[in-house]
Symmetry: C2
Subunit: 147 residues, 2 copies
């Protein structure tokens, strides 16, 4: 009882733009929809490490954790699939995006552009939160410093 699937989301930010991905038509849920890097936590994994793993698997770029910026709960497809999730802000470091089978397209978009894309409504508050936090925090801020 009270067990969950745990989802992780990674919003990768580069010079005030955000990496978004279009899901493959082969995906069982939300096919052809725009999203950010997302995935499911593995056993024995800290959610922040799971988010970084998903970045590596889905887009193969190098990025560093800044901090978690949001959480949520939804049912993935059915009531048998309760999912709690955590969304993290990552800072782009280097590398070119190379997509996996899970996605068919990618874009770096500004906040304004992201807010116009209906599929991204589930990530709007995190995109706004990151934009706001960037006004205040040092450019190299990361919670990893205190690990």
């Amino acid at each position: 009882m009270k067990q969950f699937y745990v989802g992780v989301g990674a919003i990768v930010e580069k010079d005030n733009t955000f990496l978004i991905l279009k899901r493959s038509p082969k995906k069982d849920v939300s096919s052809n929809k725009w999203e950010v890097v997302t995935g499911r936590l593995e056993i024995d994994e800290d959610p922040k490490d799971g988010a970084l793993r998903e970045i590596t698997e889905e887009v193969k770029i190098s990025a560093e954790l800044v901090m978690p910026v949001g959480t949520g709960f939804f049912y993935r497809g059915s009531k048998e699939f309760p999912m709690a999730f955590v969304v993290f802000w990552f800072r782009y470091l280097r590398g070119d995006v190379q997509l996996s089978w899970e996605h068919i397209e990618y874009k770096w978009v500004t906040l304004e552009e992201a807010l116009k894309i209906d599929d991204l409504k589930y990530f709007q508050k995190e995109l706004k939160t990151i934009t706001e936090l960037k006004k205040y925090l040092p450019v190299d801020f990361t919670i990893e410093k205190y690990d």
Copy 2:
């Protein structure tokens, strides 16, 4: 498979001090240890709402969410109990602490005092992260603004 219990932690901060609680000897795990407000997520609950519910249940004060500040993974007692967790920073608003059966003592401690308490080692990085974030963020910052 790949299902988890989800734990939530709430670090309540008031004028640069943090609320810590001593677990009751009646608790099955970590009895008599100091901790922050913690608990387990319910089905249909966003982790940040679960953290606020735990504040209400365990200390009955009024507090507002600032943001998530850390995540982790551990086994609670045994391998049958994999637990992913999220720790949140909350800002104290009002009310006096009233303990539940789960705790036998509470204190408001500074970061320096907290770092000297061995039981709190699992929350050290979040306590340091909050202290650092407070240097930069407006005093009324909250991710709820972007909800």
